[in-house]
Amino acid sequence: MINKVIELSEQNLYACYQCGKCSAGCPSVKLMDIMPNQVIRYLQIGKPDKVLQCKTIWICASCYTCSVRCPRGIDLTRVMEAIRLIQLRKNIDYIKVREISEDVLVSVPQIALVAEFRKHTA
Amino acid sequence: MEGFEPKIVAFCCKWCSYAAADLAGTSRLKIKPNFVVIRTMCSSRVDPEFILQAFLNGADGVLVAGCHPGDCHYVNGNYKTLRRVMLLKKVLEQLGIDPRRLRLEWIAASESRKFVVTIRKFVDELKQLGPLRLEAGDDNGSNG
């Protein structure tokens, strides 16, 4: 699985030395079940299930904060996307579009909706 | 080319590639005996004349091996080697000799495996290119 992620994200996950700087700056970390550096860690030690089942990859906002600060040059934003895609390509959606309330649909800007669908649905 | 065993002259610098070949020996790695090493102090001692001489005297391939750029025992000799080999390859091509017959490799003293792989690949490549046989063809051109 790590190889698949490496291929899709074009990032060398073996370079990560678990400093945690990515997680420290992550805006979403509080709502994540495992921290971004742990996502990599689980892949490094061969526990892909932890990663596939986690909430983290979905809550990641693709803000690139981790990417610009990683001392080992790992673009974690792309790593998150790669794992999301592995799930989405199995047709496992994170959100059910039908369940989004009318309220939300009319209030949020289009870009939020389009982006949401792009990131969270297959 | 069935049964063709290419002849290779390998110029190795004393500090890195010769030592790598030594290490290949000490580690009992196995290589085909298609090559003979000639030791120079630095790859930059290898004069293009020697390379042509080798081809003329029946070599099918010539390997020039030295320390990695930046690691030259003599500071920067290998940068000169790089330039000379690159230019000579162009000239060889114009002289109708496949430039792949001249190979430049950076092989550090510890890279015994690289030495082995380099020779192996070179032998394979030369087998595909076939014999050069310059001596035979020396007076070719069907003069007379």
Binding site: - | N76, Y79, R83, L87, Q94, L95, G96
Partner: protein, 325 residues
């Protein structure tokens, strides 16, 4: 003892070498005074049979210019060798192959194709190319064989001395003749010219920077050439360092770089290979650690026709002698 007998002969060359003998001006008269010219087809009416009837060693010195390109030239060279005590390879073509030697980058059929079929000004719809033997109206016409490979004179017959240059400079010729007349002959095989490279006598040599490094290669027509400064320091390829001096810096004085007609010095086995070595050695060597391989390649690629440049006069005399098919 009578006057020594001299012979002159012309093989594959442009004829400039013969001209240069005339360029000796009034000195030629001195020479003519002291020697008997027994054979000089270009100037005097002699025929092959005049030589054939001579005894072995009857001629004292045969000056042969030009490379060996055809069977007739080979035969003549052999004939003269037989009849002459000394053979002097006269000029770059005889010594090294010279400009005609550049033909060794091709094969005969390519050359015929080009000359007789592809040159735009040639109208030859039937595609006729010279044949060695042609039968016409019952007559059999023969031409000498046109060899595939150009050879130097010493690849055909043993040569005693060499007079280098394209053409050999008059003072070297006079020197050589005087030496021969005086009988103070150097060791056989000697090139009758100084054994130092051209930089030694080149007035521009002192303008060289301490460390030569060519950052960008320029061809003479691409730049305004500083008439005082060493060509290499201007990024122009000059073969002076790999070429024997003695020419009088003819090209340099005409503000053109040396192309190497005097051939290499005696310790060099292959002028072109040495040229490769020294030119490559100074290509972008300033800050060399910073140049990537691609950048070096780019710089090298700016040398148009490297083999032709470095072997302009010496391909047949080089280690590899010709292009391989």
């Amino acid at each position: 003892m009578g006057k020594p007998k001299f012979a002159f002969y012309w093989c594959a060359s442009c004829g400039g070498c013969e001209e240069t003998v005339l360029d000796l001006n009034e000195k030629i008269l001195e020479v003519v005074d002291k020697v008997d010219i027994v054979f000089w087809p270009v100037a005097l009416d002699f025929k092959r049979k005049d030589i054939e009837v001579m005894k072995e060693g009857e001629i004292d010195v045969a000056f042969i210019n030009g490379a060996i390109r055809t069977s007739e030239q080979e035969e003549m060279a052999k004939l003269l060798r037989e009849k002459a005590k000394l053979v002097v390879a006269f000029g770059a073509c005889a010594q090294l192959g010279g400009i005609p030697g550049l033909a060794n980058f091709w094969v005969r059929s390519d050359i015929f194709d080009r000359i007789y079929k592809k040159v735009p000004t040639v109208a030859n719809p039937e595609g006729v190319v010279p044949q060695q033997v042609v039968e016409m109206d019952g007559y059999k016409l023969t031409l000498p064989e046109f060899y595939d490979t150009v050879k130097t004179l010493d690849q055909t017959i043993p040569v005693d001395y060499y007079l280098p240059g394209c053409p050999p400079p008059p003072d070297l010729i006079m020197n050589a003749i005087e030496t021969i007349l005086k009988g103070e002959l150097p060791e056989k095989g000697t090139v009758l010219a100084p054994d130092k490279a051209l930089c030694d006598t080149c007035p521009r040599n002192e303008t060289k920077p301490e460390k030569l490094s060519i950052k960008d290669i320029k061809r003479p027509h691409e730049v305004i050439i500083d008439p005082e400064k060493c060509f290499l320091a201007q990024g122009i390829i000059c073969l002076g360092p790999v070429t024997r001096s003695g020419c009088g810096e003819r090209c340099i004085n005409a503000n053109m770089p040396c192309r190497g007609c005097m051939g290499p010095t005696s310790e060099v086995r292959d002028q072109g290979a040495k040229a490769v070595s020294f030119i490559a050695s100074i290509l972008g060597v300033e800050d060399e650690e910073k140049l990537s391989e691609e950048e070096v390649q780019k710089l090298i690629d700016k040398i148009v026709d490297p083999a032709g440049t470095f072997y302009r006069f010496s391909l047949p005399a080089s280690l590899l002698r010709r292009r391989r098919k």
